[in-house]
Amino acid sequence: MKSHINARNVIVALVALGLTLLPAYSALTGNIFILTLFTRIVIFALAAASLNLIMGYGGMMSFGHAAYLGIGGYAVGILAHEGIGSGFIQWPVALALSALYALVIGALSLRTRGVYFIMITLAFAQMAYYIASGLSRYGGDDGLTIYKRSTFGGLIDLSNRVQFYYLCLACLFGGVYLIWRIINSRFGMVVQGVRSNEQRMQAIGFHANRYRLVCFVISGTICGLAGALLANNTDFISPAGMYWTRSGELMVMVVFGGMGSLFGPVLGTIVFLLLEEVLSQFTEYWALIMGPLLLLIVLFARGGIMGLLGRLSRG
């Protein structure tokens, strides 16, 4: 039997442990900043994990995933603005709207393949971006401040940093667990089969596009949840957060960590956002280093961090 103790699994376990114990570290050292930073990281990791479900396992290169962050966020923001503060209403609405959007654009986009799919998902996300900028009642281009975070009837207080962090972390672990269950189920096997050979799957009797579409909707819904969390984290929502460059960043996080590996996107997000943070403290022109670094990673480190760790553990 293959040993499960290798560099890759040890690092994944250490990272999960580190994320769980982070609030304790923050409380001991009084370093509040690190908790805020990691709350953001954990939320983006969830979004990246959801993108990885369709990119890594489904072979669908969505270049419009930022739209779900926006939809989830605007659902929370608009309901809060209209005086509905309960998370029991806000969050299901955020998830339902993300799912609905994914269903509609997925049904249309999945008629295309390859680079056309990349472009059409981008086009729909840009449409969502322009709709958001046209919402004059909710701030238009300037965005909308959320004065009160979602309330859950005394069950959990989102304004409490530690409680909010653990909520985000629970969502991340839950999301990754869900994705793990999905990819190991019959459904997930079919989706992965369609990625490697669509015609063969069609020939043995699977409706390839139906499986793809369901996978696309699940991914969008999970990302919508990340959007709702993100809006609560920043207390603000604006169209800028759903511009196409944000979708590009999400793709970068996935590929950084290793597309098609369960924990890859989580590691990728941590490394990407930490690097951004460290570089921007070091120099104002952090992208001057990040840009070429990205190019080098694409050129020389196929499989991202997970691929690298995998090669290490094989020795």
Partner: protein
């Protein structure tokens, strides 16, 4: 009526400008199967080069020519150093690598020229209004953009359809391996085509510069428009890019000009003035979505491989 003529000309001018950008993109895409998100950065660099060289030389024409040369060289250098290693890779790899280049160029520009935008002043002979038909005046500069872009489009057509190098380019678009096997130096051809595409993007950027300000991120929005155009027109098709560019330019300009008034008839004035620009920007993406759903290969697909 007069407004309609003027706005149609503006639409044509914007469409032709978009064509210059889309032509380079579709050539690179069609021939090398390479998705270049950094094309918008070359557009931005063209504008920055022009603003700098015009200020240095005190001559608009000389500065513009220098800027064109500089963008051409930059494109060739970029291809030589980085991008040629990405041919034959996954589209996703190309998207990510060139996304990295966008980050790099934006910060490089911020470092060199500072965060504030530049302006590219026009020489006096380009600022006079020209009477195009009796009673209708149109800015000379916008008119000259139309003339230059049409000339470049015609030249591009002649080069691609009537010359030996154009024949190689078309052959490369339909079967890369085959023309390599016939002994054509395909690497050199790719570098040349990439340089040409870069120069066209730079030309579009520097021509747009006097109308808008020269600023960081100016390439990002218009890059996506150019992608929309080549997808609508059919990837690899110059003719398709031309038609789609005019179409998109018209829709965008006319939408911006007339949608607010149209919307005001059904919405309150304030709501209409925020909704209209959003709606007219959306129109283009809506158009692309419809085209892709109905004809996934674009309106004028290049010859099947």
């Amino acid at each position: 009526m007069l407004v309609l003529v003027e706005q149609s000309l503006n639409g044509l001018q914007f469409g032709l400008l978009l064509f210059l950008l889309a032509a380079g993109l579709t050539l690179v895409f069609g021939i090398m199967d390479f998705v270049n998100l950094a094309h918008g950065s070359l557009y931005m660099m063209g504008a920055y080069f022009a603003a700098t060289f015009v200020a240095w030389t005190n001559s608009f024409v000389l500065g513009v020519l220098l800027a064109l040369g500089a963008t051409l060289l930059l494109g060739i250098a970029l291809e030589f150093i980085a991008l040629r290693h990405l041919y034959g890779r996954d589209h996703l790899d190309q998207v990510l690598a060139t996304f990295g280049l966008i980050l790099f160029f934006n910060d490089a520009v911020r470092l060199i020229w500072g965060p504030a935008g530049l302006s590219l002043p026009l020489p006096p002979w380009l600022t006079v209004p020209v009477q195009i038909v009796p009673g209708v005046f149109y800015p000379a500069y916008r008119l000259s953009i139309i003339v230059v872009a049409l000339a470049v489009a015609a030249l591009l057509y002649i080069v691609v359809m009537r010359t030996k190098i154009g024949m190689l380019i078309r052959a490369g678009a339909s079967n890369r391996e085959m023309i390599g096997a016939l002994g054509i130096n395909i690497k050199l051809l790719f570098t040349l085509v990439f340089g040409l595409g870069a120069a066209l993007a730079g030309l579009a950027g520097l021509m747009q510069a006097p109308i808008l300000t020269v600023q960081i991120g100016m390439g990002e929005n218009i890059l996506i428009l150019a992608f929309v155009i080549i997808v609508i027109g059919g990837i690899g098709s110059i003719r398709g890019a031309f038609m789609a560019a005019i179409f998109v330019g018209m829709i965008d300009t006319l939408g911006r000009a007339f949608l607010p008034d149209l919307l005001r008839t059904v919405l309150s004035s304030a709501a209409a003035s925020t909704a209209a620009p959003a709606l007219s920007s959306m129109l283009i993406y809506l158009l692309m979505a419809i085209v892709l759903v109905v004809r996934p290969e674009g309106l004028f697909p290049a010859a099947k491989r």
